[in-house]
């Protein structure tokens, strides 16, 4: 069948019907996917959207026969160009892989073999599918991926590639054998937003040229709607809604989809107002928090902050690397200031210096008018009480050996606050504040989900009644709905306790929801600051504009009630 004939065909390329997948574990069989069905027409892009654990990746992996060892298809059919893959033998599936169905994996950092040159890995794919694999062919594949100087690049090792370049190489490998279907499993979730956009644009152009159908797996509804014609929403292993992207966004019918559309940060364009505050006085809803606090003083002032790291380049030799270069900003009491930038922009180093975990090379940090450098031991302990952090990785920031009670109680014990009874009462109150039942006190972190752990981390940070909370990418690792829940919780707590937040993030969509002021950082320098509204409405720097344009869903035109 020629490409044109195929594109005009009414036969679906991939059709999944009533698919059921079960994982066997030590405690018995766990159903992972039930009644899943979706159709991909030749050359069409279809997105599967869902939170982690919704079965979206499992469904896609079943189509390429790559389920993990303890998973198996227990019902339904996977028809690829009319052929039932659930009945096909391993040999047939192997023939189809690469040749007819390609795959772009999720994590570019660990998906390339570090001891092999990039060229060798492309050659491997070409050879496995019986295609010519000379140096010219390899360079050709890399060039198609948009990597300049392809012949030289092919001789490099994966560690010499940036994350975006690696993902390009992986896309090149996935498309090298001209498959009819490409499965892209969260291809850009590990990359910076601007790189994400480039990669997705490139993927779109390449597959459009080749007429390849794409099954795009993502947790981001905005991204799905922007890139795919058809969206399939999965929840708890089932398809809850599917339809055209526009239809799903504007007219969601299943309650879960409605919830997703409401929570999607890329689609929301307003600062979260504390629901409790709104309940008390609806007139307050109109007055932005920033204005209310305009008269307030600066709780943290950062002046001309610079941090230079020494990088060892050899024995006794080192070069200077300026991670943070002359950064100045201030946080008004009771407001949220966001520091935005891509990875390597120095934003986390700023957070660590404000937390007094790293010493600035030059410049000053004033907390309540007092310089934080050179505090005595006792003063430092007092400072620690008033400034608390929340970290990015909810899996890493809680000690796995401590149960939840000990985790939240630790700051109280360290600062010798109260006796054991009053501490227990305080822990109960904190758990209540972060909307967790008191029964989690005896649990251990590994028994809780990422969002729940992040709420525990917030409770721990609030134990000492701090004035400033520094959130270092505090919601980046969370699913959209959970992220929305945590952001609302943070907004409520700010209203209730008068907290000031320093919010470090790479995600401008999140900034829009939570921050009053924004500082945009690029390569250690502050490129733009201002109120969130003014920066979003009229960005003055090209860099800020590029960041804004890269928000997935930014280009979607939506009816006003959604936008």
């Amino acid at each position: 069948m020629t490409l044109i004939q195929e594109l005009n065909s009414t036969e679906p390329l991939l059709e999944i019907r009533d698919l059921a997948i079960t994982f066997s574990s030590s405690t018995g069989d766990v159903p992972a996917v039930r009644n899943a069905h979706l159709t991909v027409m030749p050359g069409e892009t279809v997105a599967i959207v869902g939170e982690s654990g919704s079965g979206k990746s499992t469904t896609a992996l079943a189509a390429i026969g790559l389920l993990p060892g303890n998973g198996r298809v227990t019902g339904g059919r996977i028809l690829f160009a009319g052929e039932d893959l659930t009945q096909a033998g391993p040999k047939r599936i192997m023939e189809l892989r690469g040749n007819s169905i390609g795959m772009v994996p999720q994590d570019p950092m660990s998906s390339l073999n570090p001891v092999w040159k990039i060229g060798a890995q492309i050659k491997e794919t070409l050879r496995a599918n019986g295609l010519p694999s000379g140096p010219g062919d390899v360079a050709q594949v890399l060039a198609e991926a948009g990597l300049p100087d392809a012949e030289r690049r092919a001789r490099q090792f994966p560690h010499e590639f940036s994350g975006g370049m690696r993902q390009r190489a992986l896309i090149a490998i996935g498309l090298s054998c001209r498959p009819r279907l490409l499965i892209a499993d969260e291809p850009t979730s590990a990359l910076d937003v601007t790189v994400q956009r480039q990669i997705l644009d490139h993927l779109e152009n390449m597959t459009a040229d080749l007429g390849t159908a794409v099954l795009l797996i993502t947790h981001d509804l905005g991204l799905a709607a922007e890139r795919a014609r058809k969206v399939v929403v999965m929840y708890k292993g089932q398809v809850v809604e599917s339809g055209s992207a526009q239809e799903i966004l504007t007219n969601p019918r299943h309650p879960y989809t409605k919830r997703l559309v409401e929570a999607a940060p890329s689609l929301s364009s307003r600062r979260i107002q504390s629901a409790r505050a709104a309940g008390i006085d609806s007139a307050d809803l109109l007055a932005p928090v920033a204005e209310a606090a305009a008269a307030a003083d600066n709780v943290i002032e950062v002046q001309d902050l610079t941090k230079v790291f020494k990088l060892r380049t050899g024995f006794g030799k080192s070069t200077d690397f300026t991670a943070v270069d002359g950064v100045s900003f201030a946080i008004k009491r009771g407001t949220t200031t966001a520091v935005v930038g891509e990875s390597g922009s120095g934003k986390s180093t700023v957070a660590r210096m404000v937390l007094n975990l790293e010493t600035p090379t030059s410049g000053r940090i004033l907390f309540d008018g007092v310089e934080t450098a050179g505090l005595s031991r006792g003063e430092l302990l007092k400072f620690r009480r008033r400034v608390q952090p929340i970290f990015q990785d909810p899996y890493g920031s809680l000690d796995p050996m401590y149960n939840i009670f000990r985790t939240i109680e630790e700051p109280l014990r360290v600062h010798k606050i109260g006796d054991s009874r009053s501490r227990e009462a305080k822990v109960r109150k904190l758990l209540d504040q972060v909307a967790l039942p008191a029964s989690v006190m005896r649990r251990f972190p590994n028994e809780l989900s990422g969002g729940q752990r992040q709420r525990i981390a917030i409770a721990r940070a609030l134990a000492l009644d701090p004035e400033v909370v520094i959130c270092d990418e505090a919601v980046s690792a969370l699913d959209v709905l959970v992220q929305d829940q945590i952001l609302n919780l943070l907004a409520d707590l700010q209203q209730e306790l008068g907290l000031s937040y320093l919010f470090i993030t790479h995600d401008l969509a999140v900034v829009r929801q939570i921050a009053d002021h924004v500082c945009v950082m690029d390569k250690g320098r502050l490129v733009e600051t201002g109120s969130t509204d003014s920066v979003f409405a009229s960005p003055r720097q090209d860099y800020t504009r590029a960041l804004l344009a890269a928000i997935p869903g930014a280009r979607l035109e939506l009816p006003p009630e959604v936008a």
Binding site: T10, Y235, K236, E241, H254, L398, F444
Partner: protein, 318 residues
């Protein structure tokens, strides 16, 4: 087969009663809380390897503590040359040694020396290696290099060769007893524990929860003791368990070579050594202590294996 039209995409909505909506991020309330150790115990209880190993070790410990329970024969009191190399007789199930002593009684009483050396050498290596490894890993920098290099020096010497030299030193030659053997084994055993501890501490040191604790106001030393060490303990315990078996073998080897425990102390190593002369005429005098040694070492190594599986962080659910 239904007809697909490219320009029309059907809007499908699953029946809501089939896909009930749950509260976002609900806490599962029906699960029993389990700490790392409780979970490991939960897994270990069903493992045949662990059960066999721990029953054997329990038996060996009881034998070592209360040898009188297992034999009424005094091991050295009634040695009669008339019984030399004699076969099993009533009351003497395993026969007699060259000297006419009861093999079974010596086997039972020899357990104590072997186990004492094994346990105390392990504890000593844990203490020295654990502390030095933890300091090296946590402090890093020059201190790490110094400790690592010193460890390498000891690591490079083969245990037996190094032990032969130490045991020949005047002080050790004149005071040969259980404790000198323990000291010798610790001297050559600590670097391995130190290496493992150092690696485990480094992997935990930069974890977010340590940074979080530091920014709560926990001092460096307290963070090391309260957060880093408990999280780094699992691999160290596994290595220590396996080491215990190795130390028991090392003691037997040294005693066999005549530079371990003095002949007056009953130990399996000494018995194996003494049985050499009658290897051809009466091999069972050599085989019984050797079998006891093998079973003991095997149980500790099996226990170490079972612990390694149970404490594997990758096997834990997140």
């Amino acid at each position: 087969m239904p007809e697909y039209r490219r320009d029309h995409i059907e809007h499908y909505v699953a029946p809501i009663e089939e896909t009930p909506l749950q509260a976002t991020d609900k806490v599962a309330e029906d699960v029993q809380p389990l700490s790392l150790w409780a979970e490991a115990w939960h897994n270990l209880r069903r493992q045949p390897l662990f059960i066999i190993a721990s029953v054997l070790i329990l038996l060996i410990v009881v034998v070592a503590l209360l040898p009188g329970l297992f034999t009424q024969t005094e091991p050295n009191a009634n040695c009669q040359l008339a019984n030399s190399d004699g076969g099993p007789a009533p009351g003497h199930p395993l026969g007699f040694t060259v000297q006419g002593c009861d093999v079974y009684a010596r086997l039972i009483y020899g357990t104590q020396a072997s186990l004492t050396v094994g346990i105390f050498a392990t504890l000593g290596a844990l203490l020295v290696g654990g502390v030095l490894g933890a300091i090296a890993g946590f402090h890093g920098g020059w201190l790490d290099s110094v400790i690592a290099r010193i460890g390498d020096v000891f690591f490079a010497l083969p245990l037996i060769l190094g032990a032969i030299i130490i045991m020949q030193l005047p002080f050790f030659r004149e005071n040969r007893n259980v404790w000198t053997v323990v000291i010798t084994l610790v001297v050559f055993g600590w670097p391995q524990v130190a290496r493992i501890t150092r690696g485990a501490v480094i992997s935990v040191r930069n974890a977010d929860f340590v940074t979080a604790a530091r920014s709560l106001g926990v001092s460096r030393a307290a963070a090391l003791v309260r957060h880093v060490i408990p999280n780094a303990l699992a691999p160290v315990i596994v290595v220590a368990t396996v080491n215990l078996g190795i130390f028991i073998v090392a003691e037997a080897t040294l005693s066999f070579l005549g530079i371990g425990l003095p002949p007056a102390v009953m130990s399996w190593g000494n018995d194996i050594s003494a049985a050499q002369v009658s290897l051809r005429s009466n091999p069972s005098t050599l085989l019984w202590p050797a079998a006891a040694l093998s079973v003991t070492v095997l149980s500790f190594i099996m226990l170490g294996d079972a612990l390694r599986d149970a404490l594997d962080p990758k096997a834990r659910k997140r």
